[in-house]
């Protein structure tokens, strides 16, 4: 229990919900892909990539100071990194600079500079990612072509090397069956969507990741503006969907929100998908004044820190599904225990 309390106290900055539209945009940010100019691209250099590693170490030490050791973490077998930083899912985190800034190896095999924060993307967060990559590019030579821009192993990342990402909470669109039309519309604009825990068209927790890779033809600032417009568009769509949901099913929203909070306070066995769904109802309930305000930052942290791999990390061993769900329930009870009173007054 002591360990679960310690874990519960970890609240990464990017889950702070301090940005714009924090209720709808859980986090957002930018990834900047860069590859070194010498030799093969990183992951293709095989085991003998000492030269590239040394070059990258120099670059990162220049950017983040001599204490910033560039070391490949052993793949997090217990998944702590991936659970705490889900936007880095499938990524080997090479260096964490704090404040939502990380350097890692993406599944596309380029070196990536990740800059994320709570809420909709803000100018400083965007600049932080670009500047970190820029500074590293002064210490080490990046693969660059005058016509094409920055060169990366994934051809879709040639040019600015930018990829914008946001995790959005869309209960209105989920419960009014509007997600598929949204996905189709966004795909036309080159935006990919994915449901949390791979759920679709009913993503767990009504959480949807949107990813926008602008390609080589846009200036970084233009790409950022486009991404902001995309987010605003989705936020507006979600607002409309919530109004429709509230008009047709206010009593159900109120019921589910209150029941979710009550259930989490007493749950003894709790799946991650179930937790995500309940937190979603609670967020919606708060947004629609059906529940008294709850700490958004804690809810965000809870969602990720109660993930499967994190539970295993806390236990220090592999867990069966049942053991994991029991541990999660205990963890959640410890966090949620003091949250809001549930009133039976109508």
């Amino acid at each position: 229990m002591k360990e679960t309390r310690r874990v519960a106290e970890e609240k990464p900055e990017w889950l702070s919900s301090t940005g714009l539209y924090p209720e709808t945009v859980v986090y957002s940010g930018v990834e900047v892909s860069r590859s070194l100019a010498d030799g093969r691209f990183w992951a293709r250099a095989g085991m003998g990539r000492g030269k590239q590693k040394r070059a990258a170490t120099r670059a990162l030490a220049t950017v983040f100071g001599p204490g910033a050791k560039f070391s490949e973490l052993a793949r997090p077998a217990r998944g702590v990194v991936w659970e705490k930083y889900p936007y880095l899912k499938g990524v080997l985190v090479l260096f964490s600079a704090g404040g939502g800034m990380h350097v890692g190896m993406g599944p596309r095999e380029a070196m990536r500079f990740y800059s994320y924060s709570g809420g909709a993307i803000s100018e400083p967060v965007f600049q932080r990612g670009l500047e970190a990559a820029d500074s590293a590019g002064r210490a080490v030579e990046f693969a660059y072509d005058r016509e094409l821009g920055f060169l990366n192993p994934n051809l879709e990342e040639v040019g600015s090397g930018l990829c914008f990402r946001a995790l959005m909470h869309l209960p209105g669109m989920t419960h009014t069956d509007e997600l598929n039309p949204l996905r189709e519309g966004l795909e036309k604009a080159g935006v990919k969507t994915e449901g949390f825990l791979r759920g679709w068209p009913r993503p767990h927790g009504c959480l949807v990741t949107i990813a926008y890779r602008p390609g080589p033809g846009l200036r970084p600032a233009e790409a950022q503006d486009s991404f902001r417009e995309i987010i605003l568009f989705v936020v507006e769509q979600e607002k409309e969907a919530r109004s429709a949901l509230l008009a047709s099913a206010e009593a159900i929203v109120e019921d589910r929100a209150a029941r979710s909070l009550a259930t989490l306070k007493v749950a003894r066995v709790l799946g991650h998908d179930e937790l995500a769904d309940m937190l979603s109802w609670m967020r919606l309930g708060v947004a629609m004044d059906a529940l008294e305000p709850l700490p958004l930052r804690e809810m965000n942290s809870l969602l990720f820190l109660a993930g499967r791999n994190h539970m295993r990390a806390v236990a220090g061993k592999d867990l069966s599904h049942l053991e994991e769900d029991i541990m999660r329930a205990s963890f959640v009870r410890a966090v949620v225990g003091g949250w809001g009173e549930i009133s039976d007054q109508l």
């Binding site: 590859s35 100019a37 030799g39 072509d145 016509e147 094409l148 051809l155 600015s160 390609g215 080589p216």
Partner: protein, 100 residues
């Protein structure tokens, strides 16, 4: 006939067509295929961002050149051809310095 491969890393053409490159030299060896790939995906492939130079001096020159080109555009718009000529010459001098 043997499949075309990158002389540096040995990446095959088929892999390039799948959107994967093995090293920076692949972009020279498979220029045509890569431009076609980017054109089909994004419509445009010319990178309009600030040019990248590792050394600070070249970066400063490149930035100054961008400013000059913007001033030149404005000068032509305002039909101030004398100033435009001066700006053009200055930009050309910088370009030569950059190339050297």
């Amino acid at each position: 006939m043997a499949e075309k491969r990158c002389p540096t890393c040995g990446t095959a053409k088929a892999e390039i067509l799948r959107g994967r490159a093995g090293c920076p030299r692949c972009f020279l060896a498979f220029r045509k295929e890569i431009l076609a790939f980017l054109g089909s995906r994004f419509g445009s492939f010319a990178y309009p961002g600030e040019p990248y130079f590792k050394d600070p001096e070249s970066r400063d020159i490149a930035r100054r050149m961008e400013e000059l080109h913007e001033d030149l555009r404005l000068a032509v718009q305002e039909e101030d051809y004398e100033r435009a000529a001066t700006l053009r010459d200055e930009a050309e001098k910088l370009r030569k310095r950059l190339v050297s």
